[in-house]
């Protein structure tokens, strides 16, 4: 079925609140999912894959800063979804880049990493050049780089498999972010090392996709949609006669 952007964002926000997210986190997480879906990058599918984990996440286990100095921060996401754990780590990196020109932020132990792109878009919209890097799988070893130009609304994305696998190849569930005030760090694939490009999304293609989404509606999976609706319903209060009287107009308005 088709949904509008606003509708998708609104339903996700309500569903996240239903899952126990704080208002601000729910709004951010909804933006992240809707952003990806609008650009044709499968935000709802990514959310759906992580939904059961998300429901099990302990909302009181907050991301913690393991190390920081003027331009570097390492944050422990405690194995939670980036929807819950990443935004303030990103804001910390943003603050450091503002102060020092460039910052590096490492978020360790997080899942649903694809979904972080929507918040990176937001930081880019605030005039920051942002590049994120993470490894997706160990065999074959695949890596993903997402780069936003400052004030750009769509990223350059590259996903590739590397041929030479390092000896140390432990599962890596982190993300590394580089933010720079003045220079962009877009992924240009000019390495001498061998790799197979698995996916490439250019700014222009993504913007065209967004344009289509807004003109024709966004295709959403009905089962996921229904599940989100049920989660959103958790925040609704059962009606009583007293509550009906407290709502406004009468139930019959023949006049």
């Amino acid at each position: 079925m088709k949904a509008s952007y606003n509708e998708l964002q609104g339903l996700c926000r309500k569903a996240f609140i239903g899952m126990g997210f704080e208002e601000g986190d729910a709004a951010d997480a909804a933006d992240m999912v809707a952003w990806m879906q609008c650009f044709g990058l499968g935000g709802l599918a990514a959310l759906n894959r992580g939904l059961d984990f998300l429901l099990d996440d302990d909302p009181d286990e907050l991301p913690s800063v393991l190390y920081q100095d003027g331009d570097l921060a390492v944050v422990d996401g405690h194995g939670q979804s980036v929807l819950r754990s990443s935004t303030l780590a990103l804001e910390l990196g943003f603050a450091k880049a503002r102060a020092r020109g460039l910052s590096v932020t490492k978020i360790r132990h997080c899942h649903n990493r694809q979904l972080i792109m929507g918040y990176l878009a937001r930081l880019a919209g605030r005039g920051m050049n942002v590049t994120a890097f993470w490894r997706n799988a160990q065999q074959p070893l695949t890596e993903q780089v997402v780069g936003f130009r400052a004030n750009g609304s769509a990223p350059e994305i590259r996903v590739y498999a590397v041929h030479e696998i390092p000896e140390e190849n432990e599962p890596n569930d982190g993300i590394t972010l580089v933010m720079a005030n003045h220079v962009d760090l877009l992924p240009a694939m000019r390495s001498d090392y061998r790799y197979d490009l698995l996916a490439r999304h250019d700014e222009a293609d993504l913007l065209a996709c967004r344009h289509r989404s807004l003109a024709e509606g966004i295709e959403v999976d009905e089962a996921v949609w229904e599940r989100l609706k049920q989660l959103a319903n958790r925040m609704l209060v059962e009606a009583t006669e007293a509550s009906r009287e407290g709502a406004g107009a009468g139930t019959n308005d023949n006049d």
Partner: protein
């Protein structure tokens, strides 16, 4: 010989937010020339929009499909209206209703058979349907049965209906929701941001209402003709003009005002800027005469405004009683360069709130060439953003400077935490419950900004004691639940207006003021509260007709001069004489 000095006048400053953003004052605003219905009508006339009927398949009871085409210099749109029989016991203004007399939508582009079929299957279902992404607006309306029956009976027997009916209730149809911005699958507002016709907030919704008004005239005439083809007469032009469209609004409108502070900031800023521009003008005899004339018209309009609500009735009466003093003041005071500023200062000292804001509205009306450009500044890109690198002590100062109104409230007092806002399982309707008495407080909507600001101020003050050099982001990492309100505070601190200065938890808070604030910017008149959280209003009463628009009016100022409409006089008398009488 008398020498005249060139009048010098100090520019008027914008009024402080502490005055303007008080809920009761906002709840006293009348519609102004910057209201959305007024700016839409001006735009339609200026750009020579044309509206034509492309389909009118109605049976003798007026049920069926009507389609109207709107052609602008830039694009083509269609209003598609489905009219059906409705049992009386289903006619409800509430969002929980499931059927309506008419349902309709505005489509971008043409309507082919496939789209019409899709709409016929979904538009009548409203929220329960899946709507097409080319729909810009989705809406529904119910008949005012008494007016409808009277109009059909009169027109079919060759008489004009009694205009007093429209003075009591100013319409044949009352909308109960006018949806835009992506609801139920329709187009997102972001799609309209580059659309030259409908980029202003709510302009597409107002067009939908304007088309419904035209339909209501054509439909009632059609039914009268079907009933009595020999004797039926068309509605008199003055009466058509006096016919608006109603709207019934409940608490559902309230969350919008809290959830869109940047938009509210823009609306209030434009109105206040318009007022400051008007106050900066030196009056002449012509503008004084015009202001007196407008004041008289508004006074008569308010005297003719009918409401059963005792409080609103008293407010109307107080305004009507005060306006002769305004006229006397205007007639007596010497014509000095800063006369308007004197008037506003006098009005603030002596008049009730509604009369004060009415005087301000009429002053704005005097200077279209100065203020009308503001209508293009009513929209804004909405995004509340964090400034994570702000020193926390600076945020504390911002709160203490800009949000002192929130800190002044003592939330330990039971009356200060009386209400909670929530969404009901019944169609997600927003409702108010009494904390500690009604169930659902744990699912409260965070609409009351004041207690949130107060809590955050307390938490960050404690944090600062331990970390005096902390940044905002460091506070938030330790206390993440404050993120939402912190970015709201930081963003809104850059603007004067936007936050409504009221504790929405307070026992004495009047939700009606919230509803009226938004409705005034829409351009509503005839505020008729049915309780403290449900109001009926009228839109487009007095507005130019479709046929007048299609005639491409030359005098745009005259075309635009339709505020505070008055009951037409002598219509029944003239027409009764004309029917069957030979002079």
């Amino acid at each position: 010989m008398v020498e005249f000095a060139t009048p010098t006048i100090l520019p008027a400053p914008l009024r402080p937010a502490d005055e303007v953003m008080q809920l009761e004052r906002l709840g006293s605003l009348p519609a102004s020339r910057l209201s959305f219905v007024r700016s839409l009508v001006r735009q339609m006339a200026r750009q020579r929009w044309q509206i034509s009927r492309t389909r009118f398949d109605l049976n003798a009871q007026g049920h069926g499909i009507a389609i109207y085409r709107l052609q602008t210099p830039q694009g083509r749109y269609h209003g598609v209206i489905f009219s059906q029989h409705l049992e009386d016991d289903q006619r409800s203004d509430r969002v929980i209703a499931q059927a309506w007399d008419v349902t309709f939508g505005v489509v971008e582009g043409d309507v082919d058979d496939a789209l019409l079929e899709q709409m016929a299957a979904n538009v009548p279902l409203q929220e329960a349907g899946r709507q097409h992404p080319r729909l810009l607006v989705l809406s529904r309306a119910n008949r005012s049965l008494r007016n409808f029956a009277h109009f059909v009976a009169a027109l079919s027997t060759g008489r004009q209906p009694d205009p007093a009916g429209l003075t009591r209730v100013g319409y044949l149809y009352r909308t109960t929701a006018v949806y835009g911005n992506g609801k139920f699958g329709i187009a997102d507002f972001v799609r309209l941001q580059d659309n030259p016709d409908f980029h202003r907030p709510f302009s597409a919704q107002m067009l939908a209402v304007y088309l419904l008004r035209h339909f209501s005239i054509e439909q009632v005439e059609h039914i009268a003709r079907c009933q009595a083809p020999e004797s039926a007469v068309p509605m008199a032009t003055e009466l058509r003009r006096y016919l608006g469209i109603g709207n019934s609004t409940g608490l559902g409108m309230a969350p919008f005002l809290i959830n869109h502070p940047q938009l509210i900031q823009q609306w209030v800023l434009c109105r206040e800027t318009a007022l400051a521009l008007a106050l900066g003008q030196a009056p002449d005899e012509e503008s004084r005469r015009r202001l007196i004339e407008l004041t008289r018209r508004a006074m008569h309009h308010l005297a003719q405004t009918v409401t059963e609500d005792a409080e609103q009735g008293a407010r109307n009466a107080a305004t009507v009683a005060a306006l002769p003093e305004v006229i006397a003041w205007l007639e007596e005071v010497p014509l000095e360069a800063d006369l308007w500023q004197q008037l506003v200062a006098w009005s603030a000292r002596t008049l009730p709130l509604e009369a004060q804001e009415l005087v301000n509205t009429l002053l704005i009306e005097l200077y279209p060439e100065r203020v009308d450009a503001l209508e293009d500044r009513m929209g804004t890109d909405e995004r509340l953003e964090l400034t994570p690198d702000m020193p926390l002590v600076r945020l504390k100062q911002l709160i203490e400077t800009h949000d002192d109104w929130a800190l002044a409230e003592d939330f330990t007092q039971p009356e200060a935490r009386h209400w909670f806002w929530y969404r009901s399982a019944e169609k997600e309707e927003p409702r108010l419950g009494v904390r500690g008495v009604e169930p659902g407080a744990e699912k409260e909507l965070p609409l009351a900004i004041a207690p949130r600001v107060s809590r955050t101020h307390a938490a960050l003050s404690d944090f600062l004691d331990a970390h005096p050099r902390a940044l905002v982001v460091e506070f938030l990492i330790a206390h993440p639940r404050h993120k939402d309100i912190v970015r709201r505070i930081q963003t809104m601190a850059e603007t004067p207006y936007g936050e409504i200065r009221a504790n929405l938890w307070h026992r004495d808070m009047k939700p009606m003021h919230l509803l009226r604030t938004k409705l005034a910017f829409f351009g509503a008149s005839r505020f008729d509260p049915k309780s403290d959280r449900w109001v009926r209003i009228t839109l487009f009463q007095g507005a130019p007709l479709v046929e007048e628009l299609n005639a491409e009016p030359r005098d745009l100022a005259d075309f635009d001069d339709w505020s505070f409409p008055l009951e037409p006089e002598g219509i029944m008398h003239e027409r009764d004489q004309g029917v069957g009488d030979t002079p």
